[in-house]
Subunit: 509 residues, 2 copies
């Protein structure tokens, strides 16, 4: 494409100006704002100061008044330390642009990049050699010309995984994993799937995230019962002992570039599909998975919005899986409204326990999804050969083997599981919602449900949340209890009740 | 294009935690790093704190230890001021994304934008509602899909001009202007062109820039004789009185978005052609020009590198000129090496004065270029109807009318012109370079020449620079003087002489 070089000078000269100020900061120099603007230097930038064959690193402050254009202000500290005389000519050297910037330019101009080039970009992101603006140029290149080819997505994923820590397992060992793409409140299948898989002797080192925009993340929910923050080595130990784990992935150094990239994506508010796929797969590669089920729900509020989109995304997941030799299945399913009846950490872990303990009041939709996902994984691992995967998964629930495994993993992590799901204590401040009409629940507004749960205190206030007495498809009579709000303070309850005024959480017809 | 929303939450709740620290900063709150990362908040971000129907703006600091996840740390100052109790639930509201971000997304996804959309983007840049990362996404969109259409370049230019200050002149008045695209050392035609044009009763409100990567900008050179920083109203007065001015454009609020955009472009190191064109034309529109000559030299070190490129750029300039009703001519000319013999502020203004004073030792190449550019402008204005523009321009030089006008403008600006060009004092520390061979000068290395001039102190040390006794095409004998370096300190001279070791400034054959 048509382009011109925009030269930022690599160094320039300024005249030393003594400032009669003692700061205690011998590493700060002061530039005139005009010079800084002209040379592309920003407040806080680190530059190299050179004079008489000596040099030192300093940080830049800006001024309009302390020094004139063409001067560099030095505080007493630096003057004494280095004996720089007034009026002396100092060279200010800017850090050279990171080498990966050339690759970013090429990509913006529509060229394909090599595996090495992607590695250099991602390594420079991880080591803070590229700043946020440069990362933005890189992310924008995904929208340029042809975007990323499948091969480039592979290079990128590989680079993301390899620039972080990685877990290695014995050769030929089966390592299972699952990933749910977000947007469905209460979709807490992970503890159930991990328990079923591990109970059959298959390793599943599962990491989960915390909530960002949802009511709670799986890590927030598990935290009700157990610590979830471990080092990678501790995770390996837990998995070696129990075959499974249920931990927070956020503090690990798995594909660490992802974190910075996500923050820069926030500033635009959209990301290319490829970015989400790379982010998920890089973590699976880093954890050493070779059997993978991906749960991609489609429906109101979900991240992926249409079946057509979902299929395209699935194809890229499957391409990457072949490249990384991971046996993968992607489950695309229409999901309408929340899964389970509890929304909020304790309420959600109670749903999970009800399923594991096979209580009569267990949420069947949650059980069904977990069994389906576990079943697919069992088929991928070859464990389910004579019966179907789902049948085998269900058997582990019914026999109590999954619950036993769940207790074992949580105990190994230093947590404690109540002997009965009903022993969990919910928030003492509660408020019942009753139905204003008779009819059938047609829809529950997921977005509003999440907002209410957060107002009540979820995910930090573990006992806060909403219990849905009625769900989609169920009949309700006028005046009958439809949902209960839980929290720990009247103030929070007030916020939630205010929010509900004039809004329909349930559509009844 | 394929894309997904990346939701940054618009608000979230944290529990107040009292910190037993008196800071004097009642507007600073402390968040846990994990929360900040999750919610896309950065250190220094401004957020709104809401509680019990009250709210206030605060600035965010980050911590790993002072508070836990889910908590917000408050210093004694803010606690006392607002009576916030420990454990109270506070809502943290993030600033909503600027509305122009939607337009930037559209552009990145390959759509054409409307005039209104460009206006909103540029206004948000000027008013700091878009941050540097968001500006980078916008700039990157120039490389996406089809880039900017001609129409979009027009909208962008219009928005750039209209979001800054603009000069208005009487209707139907002829307002001339010129612009040289950089890269040629010593190309100091502006003072000569302005003097010629203004001497014929035509208004020419010329603004110039300072050096960024060159040895000196026209504003740096003029500063030898006169103040160059004026307000827009002062500029109007100078032009009303003398028909011309020669001032620094950098501190004016002409097309102010350009400044921020340039800094973000620095971070990538390239810009699309369209950006340069927009930047130049927006300033011409803002100053009210309706006759314009653009000097686009092609050669070693110039910004535009080939004739083919130059023609494409010219076509866009001419398209914009038609849209803005500016009569424009673009002069594309091969230029090899520096213009004139002086490189450095005083040496360059001496060359200018030698031309204006029609001295025998005047640099003919500088005079010829200035006369050519002035001639084109005179033809555009209709002033040169019976003789050619160049002939009329030359006449103003020979008759002394141009020099008289130059004195008048500089005096009006508060400066002083020496009665004779040779009265200017050069740096007292000097060093002669003699030719090691006999032969003809085939080429002068412009990049190296600029580097030496900067090492000697240009543009801040006005008396520093290089005088070229020999230029391209001239014959030199072994041992004959070929150039003289000037500066004001032995130290700087040492730097320059060191730099010259083993490098060829002149190619002689």
């Amino acid at each position: 494409m048509k382009k011109l070089g925009v030269e930022k000078p690599t160094s320039f000269f300024l005249k030393a100006r003594h400032l009669d100020i003692q700061t205690g900061h011998s590493w700060i120099v002061v530039l005139h704002e005009d010079n800084a603007r002209e040379y592309g230097v920003r407040a806080g930038d680190e530059v190299t100061l050179k004079w008489r064959h000596k040099e030192t690193e300093v940080k830049v402050d800006l001024t309009k008044n302390l020094v004139k254009r063409g001067e560099i202000g030095l505080f007493q500290d630096i003057i004494k330390k280095y004996q720089i005389t007034e009026g002396e000519s100092l060279e200010i050297s800017l850090a050279p642009p990171p080498s990966s910037l050339e690759a970013i330019k090429k990509k913006l101009l529509g060229e394909q990049l090599t595996s090495e080039e992607y590695h250099s970009i991602i390594a420079d992101i991880v080591h803070y050699r590229l700043d946020d603006v440069q990362i933005a140029y890189f992310l924008a290149s995904a929208f340029s010309k042809k975007g990323f080819s499948k091969e480039e997505i592979y290079y990128l994923t590989k680079a993301m995984a390899e620039t972080g820590e990685m877990l290695e397992w014995s050769p030929n060992e089966i390592i299972a994993d699952k990933h749910s793409i977000g947007g469905v409140p209460g979709n807490r299948t992970t503890p159930i799937v991990v328990s079923i898989i591990a109970s059959l002797g298959i390793k599943i080192p599962k990491t989960s995230s915390r909530a960002v925009t949802s009511e709670a993340g799986t890590a927030d929910v598990l935290e009700v019962l157990t610590p979830v923050e471990f080092s990678l080595e501790e995770i390996r130990q837990i998995v070696e002992n129990t075959n499974g784990c249920m931990v927070w992935g956020g503090a690990l150094k798995l594909a660490p570039a992802d974190d910075r990239i996500l923050r820069v994506s926030y500033e635009l508010g959209i990301e290319p599909y490829s970015k989400m796929i790379v982010s998920i797969m890089a973590k699976k590669v880093a954890i050493g998975a070779n059997r993978l089920v991906i749960d991609m729900p489609i429906g109101e509020g979900t991240k992926v919005q249409s079946i057509a989109e979902a299929r395209k995304i699935r194809d890229i997941f499957l391409y990457l899986s072949r490249k990384f030799k991971i046996k993968t299945k992607v489950l695309i399913e229409q999901v309408d409204g929340p899964i389970g009846r509890g929304i909020g950490p304790i309420l959600e872990i109670r749903d999970v326990l009800r399923v594991l303990q096979q209580k009569d009041n267990r949420p069947i939709d949650l059980e069904r999804r977990a069994v389906k996902l576990a079943g697919i994984l069992l088929e991928l691992t070859g464990k389910a050969r004579f019966v179907s995967g789902e049948k085998l998964a269900k058997r582990q629930l019914v026999s109590g083997a999954a619950e036993k495994k769940f207790r074992e993993i949580i105990t190994t992590q230093g947590g404690k599981v109540p002997s009965d799901s009903e022993q969990l204590t919910l928030g003492a401040v509660k408020h019942d919602l009753v139905s204003p009409y008779s009819g059938r629940v047609k829809r529950i507004n997921s977005g509003e449900l999440i907002r209410i749960a957060r107002l009540l205190g979820s995910p930090y206030t573990k006992e806060a949340g909403i219990y849905l007495h009625k769900k989609r498809g169920e009949r309700v009579e006028k005046g009958e209890l439809i949902a209960t709000l839980y929290t720990n303070s009247q103030q929070r309850l007030g916020l939630a009740v205010d929010e509900l005024k004039g809004k329909d959480l349930f559509y009844i017809k």
